[in-house]
Amino acid sequence: MNDELVVAIEVNGETVRRLVPASRTLLEFLRVDLGLTGSKHGCDVGDCGACTVLVDGVARLSCITLAVEVRGPVRTIEGVPADDPIVAAFDRHLASQCGYCTPGFVMNLIGVREDGGAPDEEALRNALGSNLCRCTGYTRILDAAKDALGQG
């Protein structure tokens, strides 16, 4: 049991301390230790983006981030209010079908928003390049993103 470490992370405004194996990823920490299952597990190797969360305001793939290396507050989809303009835009534009990739897209876009400015379509496409969606064909996701953040 020597490889168990105490990890203290601020998640959605609340500092949590848990004893976890040193190999615990941030995604496992969120899902297994905290029960925050909104962040999804799609590939476990950083390919799909379903696990995207914000660490210190920057979008990060939680499945390839070790819990012990996290510095700064973490935000997950559970910390995003239902009336957040990005969430509302996804709803309005029917940008979710199965919904499995949606939390990652939303967190990614919140990261874009917190970066400031009003990105154009190409910037949005670039930003969302790390998130795979297999249902929507991306059109409505881009519509929602433009609606919530873009210049239109």
Binding site: M1, E4, N12, R18, L34, G35, L36, E78, P81
Partner: protein, 945 residues
Amino acid sequence: MRARIVLNVNGEEREVLAPSHWTLLEVLRYELGLTGTKQGCDKGDCGACTVIVDGEPVLACCTLAATSEGKKIRTVEGLADADGPSLVQRAFDVCGALQCGFCQPGMICSATALLEKNPKPSRDEIKVALSGNLCRCTGYTKIFEAVEKAADGSIGRHSPAVFGEAPEGFNVLGARGRKLDSIRKATGESRYADDLVLPRMLHGRILRSPHAHARIKGIDASKALALPGVFAVITGRDLPVTFGIIPWTPDEHALALEKVRYIGDGVAAVAAIDEDTADRALRSIEVDYEVLPAVFEPEDAMAPGAPLVHDTDWKGRPRTDNLCKDVELAFGDVDAAFAAAAATVEGKWTYSGSTHAAIEPHCALASWSPDGQLTLWSATQVSHYLHRELAKVLDVPQAKIRVIQPVVGGGFGGKSEPFDLEFCAALLAKRTGRPVKILYTRDEVFYAHRGRHPMKFDFRIAADKDGTITGVENDIAIDGGAFHSFGLVTTYYAGQLLCGPIRFGSYRYKSKRVYTNKPCCGPKRGHGSVQPRFPLETGIDEIAHKLGIDPIEIRRRNAIKNGETTINGMLIGSCGVLACLDAVEKASGWKERYANLPPNVGLGVATSMYISGTAYPIYPNDMPQSGVIIRADRSGKLTVTCGTNDIGQGCDGMLAYVVSEETGVLVDDIVVISGDTDLCPVDLGAYSSRITLMAGLAAQEAGRAMRDRVVAAVASKWGVSGDRVVVLPGEYVDAEDDARRMPVIDALILAESAAGTPLVSAGGFRTRKLGGDYRGGTIGASPAYSASAHVAEVHVDPETGVVKVLRMWAAHDCGKAINPVMVEGQIEGGVYMGVSEALMEDMGYRTPSPSEKQKPEVMGLHVGPNLLDYRIMTSKDVPEIASFIVEEPDPVGPYGAKEAGEGPLHAAIPAVANAIWRATGVRMREMPFTPERVLAGIANLGGGV
């Protein structure tokens, strides 16, 4: 401060980071998710948290986790192996030793530890070993049997749902079987409300009034809100809508608005990151009270100028007194009966208040979805009524609320109304946007109460020389506590339900329920009718003695017959009280023994009757009181949905038995979903002992509709008429060709194919017009009435006054026993609870007394709101209980079935009182029958006997 703790649990090394002050129970439940071990009292009184540590049973709630390092800990989850549940777990399962199942993980751990050290224990050794584990359902009898069977190897580790033979003419009804969910309970798999955990869940706590009566001048929660980890505080102003279980008398608020009315009244609620933080927040809320004079006894409350518990009624009209409800009814010429009587008895009787003390404390968990849908899990026995009241108080459409009743750890009437924690959890969850759970402490359970009303009786009975009861007069003062609750019904029940199984020639009663500044009374098993049985059945005994008639014989002479209407207009379709009396007379050896008892030993008899549900729902409507929907799938399985609340009494199993009987699908292949307002058709819930009759009839109708569709399809396939197709367990058979058979799965598929629509059926039940033709005449009217007769054998120590109930013989007419194991369990549990009330249970409060000086600030304080000071019988106190099932089929009930849940309690109390008289010559007229009271009675005899 969190500490690393390494525990060896169920053979696995588990390392956790937990607050260093946490108990083993907290670490097992909250850190390791081993929720099979239960929290019942949190102070070592109840034993529900018992685990095995290095071979010894240990109370996990009184053991620090840190001190358990290096020891081998076994919990209920660790007793099973790859071959399934352990022998002890299976023995509890097949013996019917689990009802609600909440105490059994601890009980099973204690039993396992016993058998490992002592493989062949005597019954006394079993009683001692289990005496630290309180069970409130079973009466312990089947628990003792289970431990003995596990020890003698007479059962195996595997068992089908139904293991007995059904009587002639039935597929399954009447066969002995397991409780549908008991093996899940025995292995710790069942999830009760407090076992549910949601991500981001906050913990709520409720601030309670330290004053019995005070005006709230102000509440300052700013310091609480400033604490880290505190998310919201609400007060009465946030939930201003009044409610009450009876729609005509909504006199409650979720949290006190202007006044607090008893010590324990809720004032504010907080949601915080954990319970410790929530407790800190409660302590920092400042409430400015103006303390008011309080009243504690009905007579004081009704005195002119008494302080008013409620200044206005729920419509804002000023009140002038504390009268909550009064009823006055007369049937026949009572005065003439007394004038002509050959013998009369009259006097004052006092029935003390008692509470349910279910081992599971109340618990509710609320969660809102982003689209405004509230889901509330609650340990309730009335999910439908809770659904309605939530909508009203929260001002949310009912369609946006889902109430789910998880497995409930006992109710006995104590969870049959909405409670503050349900409203508070819901609103706190809405305010915080996070799930919120509130679990009562054991103290809070006592103050939430809604238990048996204290009643005082001026009671008179008149009889002619043959012992015929010609007149009864009953003047009842009922102490209601702070709110109305079911009070309207209680006030009637105390008079109305007394008119059977003993026939009255005439009857007059006055019944008054009065508000006092104490926790609110309500329905406890045998609502309103247990108390007046005490004066009636002890009074009849006195009459018998005066006239020189045997106590059993006098009851026979007055027994109501099948199809008779009582003096107050209740139609008793069936009444098996004579067969009940025969059974207990024979089993107790009454005829040989009653006249020749050894010194200080007494036998006593009593009878009773109870309703199988009330004729009308709490809110008048024409919809069914119970609905059942059955759905087949292509696996041969049936899913039965019904909004009933299985609180341990086993109604899920009753539904499965009935549907199995009708359709031929084996009980093992029937799934019952109940207590979920989204998934189930409405049933009104677990109160007034209504489910077997009402949901049973709905299930029978739905089962028959399903069977008719399947039979039609099979008949068509075989080219025969439908009446040739016979339903047997697991198959359909041609009545004229025994070789032509079809497995039930094939028959279901055939029926679904024939119709081209899903194979679904529905059934419902509602009562026809019942009751007497007078105001209040429908209250107490029921489609069917059970009957009971008990004989008690007691020993009274004349030096100490200690009463030991040695044996109870209890016969109960349930019409038809759907599953006899469950019916016996209800009888044994009812007898246990009755004897426990008779001997020791007492809801005592500190009240002004002329003989002692008390501080005004503790007036109305419960004398011991815990399971140590509030005494209930343990495995060592419980008498030997012999239960006898009497089946006098009822014309209305399903297959003749009537209630068995509440009726078997009533007669226990007067039977014990009558036995005490036979042993000592003392007529007990005040409860409980404590050594002090018995000794005082013996002293008063003055050597006269």
